[in-house]
C-alpha cells in the first residue's frame, strides 16, 4: 500500500492547504513553524485572497518560508520585515500584506521597525513566532528567553541581572494606538490551531478595513534549540512559556483587555 491509498478521499480527515507547496519543510521534525505556516496559508486559501496577498519572510529558521508558501513573497533583511511590508502596503493599499517573523528578528534586531510600523498603524498583519530562542543560528539567547533558561550564549541560564527580563513585545506594542488587535496563541494542538486561525482571519479582514496593524503572536517550540524531544518540548512550553507568555487577547478592536 502506498501513501496515495492511505489518503484516499474517504480516509482524509485533514487536508493540507493548497497554498502549501510540495517542497519538503526545512524545519526540524516536531517544530511548530510548519504548523504555523499551514494555518496561515489555510486562512489565505479560505478567504480566497491569494491574488492580492504579499508575504514577507524574515531571517531566522523561517527564512525559506517562500519555499513552502505558494504565494508571492519577499525575503527581508534580518529584522526589517515590518519596513518592507510598510512600503508594500503603502504602495498597494488594496492588497493584503503580512510579515512572518521570529522573536530574534522582531524583538531584537528589528525592534525599531516593529515599533514604528505599529505606531504608524500600518495596515499589515504581523505573524510573530516566539520560541524564546534564536533557532536558526543554533540556539542563542533571545530577548524572549525565559529567566534561567539555558541557551548557547547563556549556558548557565539567562541571568536577568545582567541580561534583563524576557521582553513581552506584543504587550508593549499593544499600547500603541496604531495597533488595532494583539493576541497570543499556540499551534501545538487542534484546539489552539482553531483559535489562532480565527485570529489570523480577523486580522486580515481588519487590515482590509484599514483598521491598522494586527499582531498575532504564536508561542512555539524549538525542540532543537531547547535540546528536547518534540513532545517534551511542547510540555515544557505549556509549563514554562505559557505562564510567562499568557495566551489570549491582549488588545481587541483598539481596546486593551483588562487582565485582572
Amino acid at each position: 500500500m502506498d501513501i496515495k491509498d492511505i489518503i484516499k478521499p474517504e480516509n482524509l480527515v485533514y487536508k493540507n492547504t493548497e497554498l502549501m507547496t510540495d517542497n519538503t519543510l526545512s524545519y526540524c521534525p516536531g517544530c511548530g513553524h510548519g504548523t504555523a505556516h499551514n494555518v496561515l496559508m489555510g486562512v489565505i486559501e479560505e478567504m480566497g485572497i491569494v491574488e492580492d496577498t504579499i508575504g514577507v519572510a524574515p531571517v531566522g529558521c523561517s527564512v525559506l518560508a517562500y519555499e513552502f508558501m505558494d504565494i508571492d513573497m519577499q525575503q527581508a533583511a534580518h529584522g526589517r520585515a515590518p519596513a518592507v511590508a510598510t512600503a508594500i502596503a503603502r504602495t498597494w493599499p488594496d492588497k493584503y500584506v503580512f510579515t512572518y517573523q521570529g522573536d530574534g528578528d522582531l524583538a531584537a534586531i528589528g525592534t525599531a521597525e516593529t515599533i514604528h510600523a505599529c505606531n504608524r498603524g500600518e495596515n499589515i498583519v504581523i505573524i510573530f513566532v516566539n520560541n524564546g530562542i534564536y533557532g536558526m543560528t543554533g540556539g542563542q539567547m533571545a530577548p524572549t528567553t525565559l529567566p534561567n533558561m539555558p541557551s548557547s550564549t547563556s549556558p548557565y541560564g539567562r541571568d536577568t541581572a545582567t541580561t534583563g527580563f524576557p521582553l513581552k513585545i506584543t504587550e508593549l506594542v499593544a499600547n500603541l494606538p496604531g495597533v488595532y488587535s494583539a493576541s497570543r496563541h499556540a499551534v501545538h494542538t487542534h484546539k489552539h490551531v482553531r483559535k489562532a486561525k480565527k485570529a489570523i482571519e480577523k486580522a486580515f479582514k481588519d487590515t482590509r478595513l484599514k483598521k491598522g496593524l494586527s499582531i498575532i503572536e504564536i508561542v512555539s517550540n524549538c525542540n532543537s534549540g531547547w535540546k528536547m524531544q518534540p513532545r517534551q518540548s511542547n510540555t515544557w512550553m505549556e509549563e514554562n512559556m505559557f505562564p510567562y507568555y499568557e495566551l489570549g487577547d491582549i488588545k481587541v478592536n483598539g481596546k486593551l483587555v483588562n487582565k485582572q
Binding site: I88, T91, A112
Partner: protein, 361 residues
Amino acid sequence: MAELKLMKGNEALAEAAIRAGVDAYFGYPITPQTEIIEYLMMEQPEKRTGMVVLQAESEVAAINMVYGAAGTGKRVFTSSSSPGISLKQEGISYMAGAEIPAVVVNVVRGGPGLGTIQPSQADYFQSVKGGGHGDYKLYVLAPASVQEMADFVEDAFDIAFKYMAPVLILSDGLIGQMMEKVYLKEQKPRWTDEEIYKMHNDWATFGRKNGRERNIITSLDLKSEKMEKRVHRLYKKYAQMEEEDLRYETIQCEDAEYIIVAYGSSARIAQKTVDLARAKGIKVGLLRPITLFPFPKKQLMELTKQVKGILSVELNTGQMVEDVRLAVEHKVPVEHFGRTGGIIHTPEEILEALQQKLIKG
C-alpha cells in the same frame, strides 16, 4: 507643463522625481539633502500624481521600504547623505543580490564619522567598490549641475529597470545646495496597476495573479552552485553596463597635453582651471566621468597617447586616482589633488597643483 525654474539641486531632483511619475519616496532627514524630503512633503505629490512619500524611522528602515515597494514593480527611491548611506548598505547589497530595480541618492558630506555637513567626495570608494557586503557593483551617476540632478532621476530609473539593479546617484553638498536654472520636463503619468501587472508579471510580487507561479524576491541561495550562478549573472550585467551605458564628457581634450579627471562639483571647478591654464598657454583638458561605474577606462588609455600627465581632482585625499592609475597602466604620470574636510578647492589651487605635480616636477 515643461518649465524653466531657479532651484536648489536637491529640490530639482525631488521635483523631477514627481514629474517622472515615480511611485514612492522613503527617507530620513540628514544635512545636506533634507530639502529632498521637505520639498516632497510640501508638494504633496500624493495629490499631484498619487506618489507616496513617507518619513521613515531611520535610513535602515527607509532602504528596506524601498526594497519592499520596488520588489512589487513600483518605481521607488530614497536619498540620504554619507552617514545615512553607510546605514543603508546592507539593504543596497540585498537589492543588488535580489535584483531589485531602485534608485538611491547620496548627497555626500565630509567624513569619516559624523564628519562635517560641508560638501565632499569622500564616498567614492564606498560607491564604486561595492559599499555593502558581497560581490556586487552599483551603476553610479555623478551629476555636476542642478540640471543633471533633475535629469539623472529618470536616467537612473531607466538603467535600474534595464538591468534589474539598484542605481546610485552620487551627488555632493555643493551640487545639492546650489541654485541654478533648471529645465523641468512635463509631467509623466505613473504606471497603472494594470501596466505593472503586465510589464513585471515574471518577477514582481504584487500577488499571485491569474494562475501564474508565485514570484519570490530573495538574495538567498543556500546551494553554492546556484549562488555562484547568481553572482555570475550579476557580473554579466556589470560587463554589459560597461559596454552599453558608460557616460563621460570631454572638454578641450583634443589638443591637451595635460588632463584633469574630475566628476561632480570638482568637475565644475576644474572647468574653470582649464580656462585659466589655457590663458597661460598650458594646454589642459578635462575628462569628466558622468558614470563612475562604468568608468571611462578605455578613453583614459586612449588619452595617454597624447598627454604628458593626468591630475585626478577630487574632494578627498585620493580615491578615484586609484582607478585612473589602473586605467592608464602607468603609461603616464598620474597625480592627485584635492581638499577635504568640507573645504572646496579653487580653480587657481588646482592649476597650481597641476604645475607643481606634473609640469615643474
